[in-house]
Amino acid sequence: MDINTIKELIELIEQKDIVEIEYSTADGKIRIVRASRETPLRSLAAQADHAGRAETAGTEIKEEEQGISVNSPFVGTFYCAPSPSEKPFVEIGTKVKKGQTIGIVEAMKLMNAIEADADGSIRQVLKKDGDPVEFGEPLFIIAPES
């Protein structure tokens, strides 16, 4: 194990949500502990939520769900179909191509097409027709083609 392996381990620990790594090989052993993250901020958020005042900006999508999150690029109203009388653009399981329109976010009477970020199939539709959405809020999860 040389210094470069250690550097790589540290980079890993920083990128991922890891606090401690212990690693042994035939020629040695290493243990790396990351600085603790907990800050007053976190507990503040807890309190605010507890007080029931601040609303959550959106469902947090975990990496482990192994999907690509398509987020709203605008504040506005989400529509799942081109018009109320028509069928939704997509449903769970629909196969999509990158660039394909899968929803609409209306902001100030402008209809903004939401496009699939990747080829794959729709794993989740997180908003209902007519739901208000914030900037950056996840709308869909796409399971990419493997």
Binding site: P40, A48, V75, M108
Partner: protein
């Protein structure tokens, strides 16, 4: 009265407005950029909406996103705070077109006062003395040189669409004219989207004194007295007080009359500030009008006992003013220090995480802030951390109260201008009230 109001701003002013709304029984909606998800204004509001990414142009200056947020939240009105969209007549129009009340003046008044050349013309016609200078925009270098000969050096070149201390350059020497005009024009174009420039005489030993007014849009406009804002650095206010040591009752009345003449004529609605330059002989000149809530409104609140923000919101909702001119009596003395995240020597903004934050408290000390222990000051916005405001029976006591409050204020993890405030407050010149717009240069 409104039921729900969106606050189109961040930092201390968003919190100030949310406080007023809550006290009025109105629901508040905060908007925020992705950089502000931990900002205190998002926690103190009843609801919140993320409107865009960190850069102001994508969020706090993003009018469509704000209107859209207002629509999904179903608000009655938008409060713009100061800065950002607060003096954007177009935004005020779009709000009204969308059926959302803009808590501010009528769009045409924002526009009139927003163009400093038009404002000068308006004020001059009413017989109020304006700063000596041009009433037309500068055509070219030759034109500028002719004007310079006319009104004499030194001169100040200003952007017609500038204001609030931005877009200003001083010319001491005729030779500088071509270069400065070129730079100023380019800057004005970038900063305000309009390259128009004009010129005013530049005075050296003068004060910046402004009159706070309040109008109901139905012909009633009152004066809330003056604020002394001479302590500035880079044309940005640093310390404000009310009353001014240079203003006695007679002068206060004269300045108030001038301010009321300017605003009554347009039947002004909401809060506004008429900025005057006051010379050593007690002569005053109109500089510009700010058609919005000012950063330094708390000093006026302290000496008048009037909640200026509640009054502003209430007027916008169509209610009458709660006071008349004769109810306004200035009592005691108030001082505000702007506590910025910046190096006290170089004045370079300082972003980072606040490790310790202990506010001053006790009698007649007001802190309008937005940061807390553990908060990370983002590098994208204004460096104002808190306004420290004190009141006392008289100016000397107010200065002592401010000194002890500055001594108590402990902020660690980032640099602040508190040491510079301490130095100024301890100086004999400040104590004597011998101040001018050039005052701070001696301390840096």
């Amino acid at each position: 009265m409104f039921t729900k109001v969106l606050v189109a701003n961040r930092g201390e002013i968003a919190i100030r407005v949310i406080r007023a709304l809550r006290e009025l029984g109105i629901r508040s909606v905060a908007v925020y950029s992705t950089a502000d998800k931990d900002a205190l204004h998002t926690r103190l509001a009843d609801e919140k909406v993320c409107i865009g990414s960190a850069q102001s142009k994508n969020s706090y200056l993003n009018a469509p996103a704000i209107i859209s947020a207002a629509q999904i939240k179903g608000v009655d009105a938008i409060h713009p705070g100061y800065g950002f969209l607060s003096e954007d007549a177009g935004f005020a129009e779009v709000c009204e077109a969308a059926g959302i009340k803009f808590i501010g003046p009528k769009p045409q008044d924002i526009e009139l006062m927003g163009n400093k050349l038009k404002a000068r013309e308006h004020v001059d016609k009413l017989g109020v003395q304006v700063m000596p200078g041009t009433f037309q925009e500068i055509e070219d270098e030759q034109h500028a040189i002719r004007i310079a000969k006319d009104i004499g050096l030194p001169l100040m070149v200003k952007a017609a669409e500038g204001g609030g201390g931005r877009g200003m350059k001083i010319i001491y020497d005729e030779d500088q004219i071509p270069t400065i005009i070129k730079i100023a024009r380019a800057e004005a174009k970038t900063a305000f989207g309009n390259a128009s420039l004009y010129m005013e005489k530049y005075f050296e030993n003068v004060r910046h004194v402004e009159i706070q007014i309040l109008g109901d849009g139905n012909g009633s406009v009152i004066s809330l007295g003056e604020r002394e804002c001479s302590i500035q650095r880079r044309h940005q206010k640093f310390i404000e007080e009310s009353p001014s040591v240079a203003v006695d009752d007679r002068l206060r009345n004269k300045m108030s009359e001038a301010a009321l003449k300017i605003t009554r004529h347009i039947n002004y609605r909401g809060v506004g500030t008429i900025e005057f330059l006051l010379d050593e002989k007690g002569k005053f000149y109109f500089m510009e009008m700010n058609t919005r809530l000012q950063v330094e409104h708390p000093v006026t609140e302290f000496v008048t006992g009037l909640d200026v923000v509640a009054e502003q919101i209430s007027i916008a909702s169509g209610q009458k003013m709660s006071v008349t001119q004769k109810d306004i009596k200035l009592k005691g003395h108030a001082i505000e220090c702007r506590i910025n995240a910046e190096d006290p020597e170089t004045l370079v903004p300082s972003a980072g995480t606040i490790r310790t934050y202990i506010q001053p408290g006790g009698p007649w000390v007001r802190v309008d802030g937005h940061v807390y222990c553990g908060y990370e000051v983002p590098p994208y916005y204004d460096s104002l951390l808190a306004k420290l405001v004190v009141w006392a029976e008289d100016r000397d006591s107010a200065i002592r109260r401010m000194q002890r409050s500055l001594d108590e204020f402990i902020i660690e993890g980032i640099k602040t201008n508190i040491p510079l405030h301490r130095k100024i407050l301890a100086s004999k010149e400040f104590l004597l009230g011998n101040i001018s717009t050039r005052f701070i240069d001696k301390f840096i």
